[in-house]
Point group: C2
Chain length 682, copies 2
């Protein structure tokens, strides 16, 4: 390697060393080991630091997100809006250089850190690249032809989420995905021989990947470059370049676990700076030549973008419809008036499962919202996520679809699906991913769901079989804690619609959202179309469905329990107790309504009872008393289970009467009144 290469690589290493040392916190080892590969990779990547959102850039995902000092150093050196002062603020509160990469920092594609997620994100981005390319590219107009690169470490490869995503990537033949495995034989417990002795390359080959090894990725820059070239030539398989590296290269502790997650000792820092020919007195030092070297790449990237913009302008002339569509998508706006296609219902319409009503929404909007892309984790006939004219997203060679297809067969890989959806959403061009599974198995993907919320990916989980109402499959499949869990995640909508209008509202709000993901919990069983529901009312997150003059009690319910509560109100009326029925399909949305409106739904002075066939946790926000199931469900016919737990009109009326009697004659505020403002999202 040239002296300049060496200088640049060591600059990256020492920026990471200095950032971690100044913070007295962080991970210097992986940056020092991966700097050579990053140096080679980034110089041949196509990106414009002045426009990090340019659609046809190459993407880079750091799945081993703890190595972010590497990424921040690169972003700084290549000219992203991340100054040397930002590097000095590494891991400090409100800095642009937090402890793990967060989407929103210029040049950071996805939020990573929780291991394995980045691999799934990269698969998602690569899927999006393939799909948008298949949809928009035309002869002479190679609008989308970038690569998705990903670094990952041993930790990522041990995580199931990465395994799931890697298997699907192999199946999908994603030749545009090129990953680098940092094979440094070290994880936090020490040598990987303690727990991780599998043959990673062989495993990836079994998934259908192309695997290349660079035996000395500490020094063999030509070998790294050649491996990237080889990987690019393999267009029908994702590639993994196995980099044999030394963690903490240059440190006295190189090759040991002690450089993984702790700053280098002061004398080690002096030692390594001297060894690299740097002045040990200087910190955060960047030689001018290094800035200049990397500026070439960025300049070339800026030129490439300019060329692309010209190409796109021509494209818009030659293919006005597609051009207009892509231009629209680049504004992150859905087609105007798309929401007019959402189905509306009257009480005369027949009772249907909300999962079926969800299918009807997807059927209605699929052609109108062409950026809708998604599928199911091998539960298509149960989730009803595939509209009848769908084309599968598949490698053309399998002859069961092609890359322009929008229906993704995720396989039984919920966690991988979640990470992949996040990656698709991160790609840009307004792709709106959805993924189906049973509500109970969204929990398998909790890690990815949380990251969707944290990273503002407005993905949609189509979560059917949402309660004990699924019946015979029993307690292993029946959610109890699930909605309490999801409702406690900041920035997540958790819809549980009660009928067709509410299903339409759930999709309306979910697709209108630009920063908030959704889980839409849907019933397996049929539910009647409600008198008094509407898309507009449900779109407020909560509303009064049955209104009486001066109610004695308010029943507050969601989903399948709303119609039973309406029946319960009739039972109560027969007893001389006047009950309102409130439907709250989504807490997040209702929480954001004006105070006056909220209080009109849940006024002072009226006792309220929440009704939902799962954990009562969280419902005290909107009710004085809670009727729920704080135990596990059971296998049996749905009607038998409902009856057994007393979620019948009579059982609900009984609790409502007790609630009414309990508070009768007592002063009572609406549960919405609180002593102080809480710390919440936004």
């Amino acid at each position: 390697m040239s002296d300049l290469d060496q200088l640049a690589i060591n600059t990256i290493r020492l920026l990471a060393v200095d950032a971690v040392a100044k913070a007295n916190s962080g991970h210097p080892g992986a940056p020092m080991g991966l700097a050579p590969a990053a140096h080679v990779l980034f110089q041949q990547m196509r990106f414009n630091p002045k426009d990090p959102a340019w659609l046809n850039r190459d993407r880079f995902v750091l799945s081993n997100g703890h190595a972010c000092a590497l990424l921040y150093s690169l972003l700084h050196l290549f000219g992203y809006d991340l100054g040397i002062e930002d590097l000095k603020q590494f891991r400090q509160l409100h800095s642009k250089t937090p402890g793990h990469p967060e989407r929103g920092i210029p040049g950071v594609e996805v939020t990573t850190g929780p291991l394995g997620q980045g691999v799934g994100n990269a698969v998602g981005i690569a899927i999006a690249q393939k799909h948008v390319a298949a949809k928009f590219n035309k002869p002479q107009f190679s609008l989308i032809d970038g690569y998705t690169y990903c670094f990952f470490g041993d930790g990522c490869m041990m995580e199931g989420v990465a395994s799931e995503a890697a298997s699907l990537a192999g199946h999908l033949q994603l030749g545009n995905l090129i990953c680098f495995y940092d094979d440094n034989h070290i994880s936090i417990d020490g040598d990987t021989k303690f727990a991780f002795t599998e043959d990673v390359g062989k495993r990836l080959e079994a998934y259908g990947w192309h695997v290349i090894t660079v035996k000395d990725a500490n020094t063999d820059l030509a070998g790294i470059a050649a491996a990237i070239e080889e990987a690019k030539k393999v267009t029908d398989k994702p590639s993994c370049i196995r980099l044999v590296t030394t963690i903490g290269f240059g440190s006295l502790q190189a090759g040991t676990g002690s450089v993984h997650g702790s700053p280098l000792k002061p004398d080690d820092i002096i030692q390594v700076k001297k060894k690299f020919g740097f002045d040990p007195e200087k910190t955060f030092y960047v030689p001018k030549e290094v800035y200049e070297l990397y500026a070439k790449t960025s300049k070339a990237g800026a030129a490439a973008e300019q060329e692309w913009q010209q190409l796109f302008a021509k494209y818009q002339q030659q293919y006005p419809e597609l051009g207009e569509e892509l231009a629209r998508r680049l504004t992150d706006k859905l087609p105007q008036g798309w929401e007019k296609a959402l189905p509306r219902y009257t009480p005369q319409d027949k009772a249907l499962a909300t999962r079926k009503l969800s299918e009807m929404v997807l059927t209605s909007i699929s052609d109108i919202v062409p950026e809708l892309i998604g599928g199911s984790a091998d539960l298509t006939p149960s989730n009803l996520t595939r509209v009848s004219n769908a084309v599968d997203f598949q490698p053309p060679s399998l002859k069961i679809g092609d890359y322009s297809g929008r229906y993704i067969r995720f396989g039984v890989r919920e966690h991988g699906m979640g990470a992949i959806m996040n990656g698709i959403a991160a790609f840009g061009s307004n792709l709106r991913p959805f993924g189906g599974t049973f509500l109970n198995f969204v929990s398998y993907a909790a890690g990815a769901l949380r990251l969707a919320a944290l990273s503002h990916h407005p993905v949609i989980w189509v979560a059917t079989h949402d309660s004990i109402g699924l019946g015979e499959d029993g307690p292993t499949h029946q959610p109890i804690e699930t909605l309490a869990h999801f409702r406690a995640i900041p920035n997540l909508m958790v819809w549980r619609p009660a009928d067709g209008n509410e299903v339409s509202a759930a999709y309306y709000k979910s697709l209108s959202s630009e920063k908030t993901p959704s889980v839409i919990a849907l019933s397996r069983q049929n539910l009647p179309q409600l008198e008094g529901s509407s898309i507009e009312k449900a779109a407020k997150g909560g509303y009064t469905l049955v209104s009486t003059d001066k109610p004695d009690v308010i029943l507050v319910a969601s989903g399948s329990e709303v119609s039973i509560s309406v029946e319960a109100a009739k039972v109560l009326a027969n007893k001389g107790i006047k009950a309102n029925v409130v439907s709250i399909p989504d807490f997040f949305t209702f929480d954001r309504q004006p105070r006056d409106y909220q209080l009109s739904v849940l006024p002072n002075g009226v006792p309220s009872l929440s009704v939902e066939v799962m954990s009562t946790a969280g419902w005290s926000k909107y009710s004085h008393e809670q009727f729920g199931i704080n135990t596990f469900g059971a296998s049996g016919k749905a009607a038998d289970i409902y009856k057994s737990f007393e979620f019948t009109p009579e059982g609900i009326a009984d609790r409502a009467e007790k609630t009414y009697n309990f508070y009768k004659g007592h002063e009572l505020l609406s549960p919405l009144n609180k002593a102080f403002e809480s710390i919440h999202y936004f």
Copy 2:
């Protein structure tokens, strides 16, 4: 195959067909395809249906739990306490034959259904077998020498949890684990070519497994038997026998997705019964010869157990100490007085992180409680789960431990760890597994955690870095929704101890528990030893730590916020507001205290404020007002983050004052008063 073999296999198939048909719900396809393998496998297994808990039985796990009609049929035919009437009650409420296998049914080792979990359970059982064998076996006394068998399907192999567990099983060289892969090319979406085209055998080989293929597992019984023999001979690798089968063998829909999850059509049932030489008029028919055939196996199993009991009696004479220990363990009781070893603290003892205090508990009890076995998901130096004299559970050939070791290096495989812990707990001999990771990443294992609670496995999650107090790692690592989620899971203790005495109490209750798993949330940062805490008080789940005469307000806190609340009470005292401080380290345990005691802690008439640095969801059970963080955390120094969210003595006092003022002069009941009894666990 002989006519009798054929008859027996078809009997199994038709019992499954009839059970599913009668329930009009269930999965006939896999039972029909797997019946030949089950027939061969079960006849060569060692078990005694009259004593399903016999320690040295072979174990069988049905990871594709939806195929439970197969398992129930086998259990019936081999003479377990499961009558033909029970098969007729398949999938009916409160039957012994629920929609997925549930631990507690005679002969069912683990609860399965959520895909992939059973593979992890089987790995855990095999680990337990290896460990108990290494600990107790002596020359001439092969007390533990059984095998762990597992059936799994395509769905299991797509799930990350199974991948994680399989990789670890290969590393651990579990030669006693023999799995059968039902390679029938069908999953719910249809042909596996839609999403699952990887080379499963090659993948397992990459993990270090021995793979054998039976090309026609519909008819080649000799081939299946030979494969099992071969697998048993490979003692240093887990084996996978790939069975190429036809889903729904015999049905008109054989080999298609339509036999996966729906009953056979009535005319198809007639057709298949005729084809198999059965009377189509008869249902649930078992030829006498079939009962007789399988009774031979069960009789041999009973004899084997008798022999074993004699051997064990001799063993107890020859090795009295070990014999006594194993005999004790078989009663599921810990050594008497073990809890006396739990450390106790006074306010003079130094401030320590509760993760450190957890390490001190483990150090104190490790030798005294020899059935404690566990480790960490590659976070040993952070979780502090490894006591200094620990021996690693490792294959001896690696020379870094042996199978008698009790410290398990799980690798970065939280979900696999959870499923494996459940399996270890299911093995018997009172093994008490624990597993360490960051609290936030217990969520990766949500599927397994839930199953621990549902199946009554008293496993312990050592969940360190439990809040924003972990500091620089930032929001990707800081739990917000996590405790709300876990507290909403029925039958789960969620401890968040505030100091050393509370840590000891958490372990005391967790290890004393026989049916309830625990998550113990532990701080990264140091916490003072509290005035007024004790193991006995904390063991009630909640108690008054700071008591004043006629308090104006009660601060209710957990973990690291308890000591800050004590300081806040002093700030309030300076303002003339008298505050009690209540510590609630575990909701589950506090909920089970007598009403009088609960009301003595949270009396009527006093407003209360909960204080915890994460989601407020769930806290209304014990407080009128909630101070928490319903948004994501941040990367920075822990002290800076606490200050930024105002979780300081002043910030808490401010909310407490507002709470006091808000309720002043108003009638107020304790939040413990409810209008009716809720449906809860137990």
